[in-house]
Symmetry: C2
Subunit: 253 residues, 2 copies
Amino acid sequence: MKMEAFTVDNIPLIKKGDNIAGMICRNAEIRNNDIVVIASTIVAKAEGRMFRLEDIEAKEEARRIADEHRADPRLIQAVLDRSCEVLMDFPILLVETKNGHVCIKAGIDGSNVEKGYLADLPEDPDASAAGIGKAVEQISGKNVSVIVTDTNGRAFKIGQTGIAIGLYRIHPIKNWIGKKDLFGNTLEITQESVADEIAGTANLLMGEGDGGNPVVIVRGLEMRSEKDTSVKEMYRPDKEDLIKKGLRSLRHN
Amino acid sequence: MKMEAFTVDNIPLIKKGDNIAGMICRNAEIRNNDIVVIASTIVAKAEGRMFRLEDIEAKEEARRIADEHRADPRLIQAVLDRSCEVLMDFPILLVETKNGHVCIKAGIDGSNVEKGYLADLPEDPDASAAGIGKAVEQISGKNVSVIVTDTNGRAFKIGQTGIAIGLYRIHPIKNWIGKKDLFGNTLEITQESVADEIAGTANLLMGEGDGGNPVVIVRGLEMRSEKDTSVKEMYRPDKEDLIKKGLRSLRHN
């Protein structure tokens, strides 16, 4: 088995209203079952999800958390406005966004955006992925999957990896349930997080900083779903989430 | 930029004493800077890290935890023997191994091993990676990196991804510290967990179950270190680990 991953070159700086699908199809020859992996930053930019701190007024909770971080209270207010729960407020501001994505500062990012502006995550990353995916399919005549990515930290280890936050026509989890191992025993570990693994693969080529490549195509995996899919299929149900329970215990005791 | 990943085919079932490096070099043409990714199961088997439950006697703590899980107390005893701390005992038995790796059941695995036996992780996965890497270099005459992998669950999301537990000549983290973004601002997110991303890439091809491919080569990334490296470079220092603190708070309150 073999797979390859390559950057789609010549993607310009993205502005509000830009047609990302068109740019991808002009700069890459798309094939059936290609997985088009796109950094959420450019999706957010094309969707006009930029905002300015000067348009925000910080309330009391934001000012309190900002004091701990020595951060701008308006930035913290922006994070709280996008969150349904604060899981940790210091030394990192870890929240669950209204989409169910657990991340630092609600994914608000000041990297690779014009000075004075901040970039939000796409409002509905599955819908963003589907919009771009359908447009790529219409232009190219090929069936593709799309993964919109962010980078996220992890428990117990330093560093971030690329992860999926929005999906089109690829399930986040591959089930090995009921499969037998080499010796005929039923497998214990049964759910592979393929969308996050593919996002991590793409992140190896995307880079950060001024060498950024925001679009990567992963080819050679047969993972396209005939039906619609959602990243929410992999978010752990709240009542089964013991790490959240632990963080709440720290926060409220 | 482009990378590729492919399975090394024709790796037989591994037995104690088998020469994994020799098998890899017989079945793949190695190039400079190749990253050879190897499932820890076959490393452990070649090192003879198999054991039988019938050789273990369960003590009191193991019997208590086993009751909660309706599991064999001898299996739990084996987990405790390999751990320096239990972070959660139920509904999952999450421990830190003596190597600093946080995982379920100390990575003890009953999949893909002969009936009646269980497989340990390699005792020192960095040393295992270095042993195989140096042997591959000697046979092939090329400079390579090696990543020994396991699969691990994640916080907040269901499913497992391939992750690195032992490294030879590749740093687990790529630092973007001090790099500028597209607009000349200093980047906030600065540490990319490349070894785990590469392990995840390989896991997409390794599969589980009876179609398992335990060796994958990742080619096209320039990440070889001229010096020795350790997976421990990415384990978060205990006093900075708030998720551990949260789990301890749940366990002891």
